[in-house]
């Protein structure tokens, strides 16, 4: 079993503090959902764990099986087993999706142990089929001219090909219609198992109809303010966030507003 542990995490962007002490522990074989209204720091948490260049960690720790993640370069974090399905993945002209994926897979392997072309193609074909992606997507330039939905599927394709220990899905559901949502969920559910842990960041409960979380956390004002089981997500869907705000005496849940 592997463990991703976030303790007292404080994060700034351009001098403004967004996260104000986040604590969260995720084990493999667990799916966690972080929910909360807009502007509460959910995506910042995802970006900070992966090492986005604009986010500065000012206090706290992130460890993966005891190893200090914050000390690692971005590529080392990936090699250690972290993956972030991004909300706004970059477009990279002139680099085909397939070439990129092969480079990524081979970067996790020793020299001389590279994946064979045949095996790679077989695996790519089968994952693309699961995600109902057109085969020609493999030869298109990475994310260039992809629709919003295509980009999301492509993120999940990478997840399935790279098989990380921990995946963070940053609003993977935004902009997806119900059919696409089902397809993406199918991909994530295929990953579920003893060697995989997942942190799903979402505004909406609807994604959680297809990927049932083991734990649900609510973020407000840059902190995790409430945690529970899947029933918490149900309650949020039915009643919204106001009851939590009342319970905790929060008037404005966004970052920068203190209770």
């Amino acid at each position: 079993m592997s463990t991703l542990e976030i303790k007292g995490l404080h994060v700034e962007i351009e001098g403004k503090e967004i996260l104000k002490g986040v604590d969260l522990t995720i084990n493999t074989n667990e799916i966690h959902a972080v929910m909360g209204p807009n502007g509460t720091g959910k995506s910042t948490l995802a970006s900070a764990i992966m090492g986005h260049p604009k986010y500065v960690v000012t206090a706290g720790t992130v460890t993966l099986d005891g190893e200090d993640v914050l000390e690692m370069e971005v590529d080392e974090r990936a090699k250690a087993g972290l993956f972030l399905a991004m909300q706004y993945p970059s477009e990279i002209s002139g680099v085909t999706n397939a070439d990129f994926l092969r480079s990524a897979i081979n970067s996790q392997r020793e020299e001389g142990e590279e994946i064979s072309l045949m095996k790679f193609i077989r695996e790519l074909d089968s994952k693309m089929e699961t995600l109902e992606m057109d085969q020609e997507m493999a030869q298109r330039y990475l994310n260039e001219g992809f629709s919003g939905g295509e980009k999301k599927r492509n993120e999940i394709l990478q997840l399935m090909m790279l098989k990380p220990k921990f995946a963070i899905l940053d609003e993977i559901d935004s902009g997806l219609d119900i059919d696409a949502l089902k397809v993406v969920s199918k991909g994530v559910n295929e990953m579920r198992g003893e060697n995989f842990g997942c942190l799903i960041i979402t505004h909406y409960q609807r994604l959680l109809n297809y990927i049932t979380p083991d734990h649900v956390h609510v973020m407000m004002q840059g902190r995790v303010v409430k945690s529970g089981g899947p029933e918490l997500a149900q309650k949020l869907e039915a009643q919204g966030y106001d009851w939590i705000k009342e319970e905790l005496g929060i008037e404005d849940e966004t970052v920068g507003q203190e209770a």
Partner: protein, 435 residues
């Protein structure tokens, strides 16, 4: 006081060189006249690059003699890699100033296609060569370098495709440089008559690491009404050359000229790629990529001149600059009065890999007609940190991520080259130059 630029050869030298080539009288006369002009004409003035201190006039030897090849297998590995020796049907190889190998399929010969070195062409197809040699596309008296080129021409190729003939397999041309003393004054004439089609791919390849010579190279590319010419080139000339490389096209009615130019010289170079869209409905795509390294200075001008109605001219220039290299990119769309419904678009982008490098991207629109569409985009910047972050977040190292981004940035030309060996070579040269 005026500083006189001494020419390396005398008028008499030029005369006797013409005689030794048994050139027709019109050509010998044109070269003598060009020599006179070269003494008085000024150097061109490429925008934002000062070249008055560059040596364009002195060189060690005018022409050297090399042995022709008995077969392509004799070529050194580096050159052989460019050619699919078993399947390449139409090819011309020039070693320094010597025509070394020529092959043209019987089928094309029967259809009247001509592929030969420029001197043989001048002797055997004198009227045809006279019709196109520095008369329509490039003129002798444009400036000192065009005049010098005509006077000192010491090699080149002639390709002619008759009316209605579609050349399906690409014509490949290799200009090989070997030896410090060598200079290249190559002239290429490529003519596609009405409704014909041709794909032409040329390589300039230095087999020596250094040079003390000049490269003053001109291509004239003529696509008659309804013709289509695809012109691919990869230039890899050694450090030490001073280069002027001018590739110019003239497109007739509904004619198309596509350029894919890999500008990978290691020497100081002035590049010019102008397409005159003379006919109504003519089209040109000019794509060029360049890598500058060391202390190289280069200037790249791509220009479309719209004369015909509905003429479409697209320019893409992508440059990668490292070390202390400096390059000016000018992408110019010029729409003449009367060229209504024309479309001119330029995109010039420069990726800077070092603090000390310099890159300028200047898209320029000059429009003398109201009813047109035009647009341009330019950027100069470093590798996008978010692109790096994205690739690295998948486990790809910083170095490898940068490499992928740079290759991707230069892919527009790589992907267009129609000969597999040449495509691969350009990728490898890029790899070597950006490392």
């Amino acid at each position: 006081m005026t500083v006189e630029m001494k020419l390396a050869l005398t008028g008499e030298d030029v005369r006797s060189y013409s005689e030794s080539n048994r050139e027709p009288e019109w050509l010998a006369a044109k070269r003598s006249e060009a020599y006179q002009l070269a003494e008085t004409l000024q150097l061109p003035k490429p925008d934002k690059t000062k070249i008055h201190n560059w040596n364009f006039t002195e060189f060690p030897v005018h022409a050297v003699h090399d042995e022709p090849l008995t077969g392509l297998a004799e070529l050194p590995q580096e050159a052989r890699a460019l050619i699919d020796i078993e399947n390449q049907k139409n090819i011309y190889v020039q070693r320094n100033n010597t025509p070394a190998y020529l092959k043209l399929s019987d089928e094309l010969k029967e259809q009247g296609v001509i592929l030969t070195d420029i001197f043989t062409a001048a002797r055997e197809h004198s009227d045809l060569v006279q019709k196109y040699f520095m008369d329509d596309a490039v003129k002798v008296d444009e400036h000192k370098l065009t005049a010098l080129h005509a006077a000192f021409m010491n090699g080149g190729v002639f390709v002619y495709v008759p009316k209605g003939v579609e050349v399906k397999e690409p014509v490949q041309v290799l200009f090989l440089h070997e030896g410090e003393e060598v200079s290249l004054f190559n002239h290429a004439i490529i003519v596609a008559e009405e409704n014909s089609a041709l794909t032409y791919v040329e390589n300039y390849l230095s087999l020596s690491k250094d040079s003390k010579g000049l490269a003053n190279i001109i291509s004239e590319v003529i696509a008659k009404d309804g013709a289509k010419i695809t012109y691919g080139a990869v230039d890899v000339l050694a450090e030490g050359f001073t280069s002027y490389i001018n590739r110019r096209g003239v497109a007739g009615r509904d004619a198309t000229i596509e350029w894919a130019l890999g500008l990978m010289n290691d020497c100081d170079t002035i590049y010019e790629n102008v397409t005159h869209l003379v006919g109504d409905g003519s089209v040109s795509h000019s794509k060029s990529v360049l890598v500058g390294r060391g202390t190289q200075k280069q200037n790249v001008t791509a220009k479309t001149v719209h004369w015909g109605k509905g003429a479409e001219g697209f320019i893409l220039q992508h440059g990668v600059m490292k070390d202390e290299a400096s390059t000016i990119f000018n992408g110019i769309g010029k729409i003449e009065h009367g060229a209504s419904k024309s479309d001119a678009v330029q995109e010039s982008r420069v990726l800077m890999l070092s603090e000390k490098a310099r890159g300028d991207a200047n898209p320029i629109l000059l429009i003398d007609e109201d009813d047109v569409t035009a647009g341009h985009a330019a950027s100069v910047g470093r590798v996008d940190p978010l692109q790096l972050y994205y690739l690295m977040s998948r486990g790809i190292s910083r170095v490898e991520a940068e490499r992928l981004i740079v290759h991707g940035f230069l892919a527009p030309v790589v992907s267009q080259l129609p000969i597999e060996g040449v495509k691969k070579q350009l990728s490898e040269v890029i790899e070597r130059k950006v490392r």
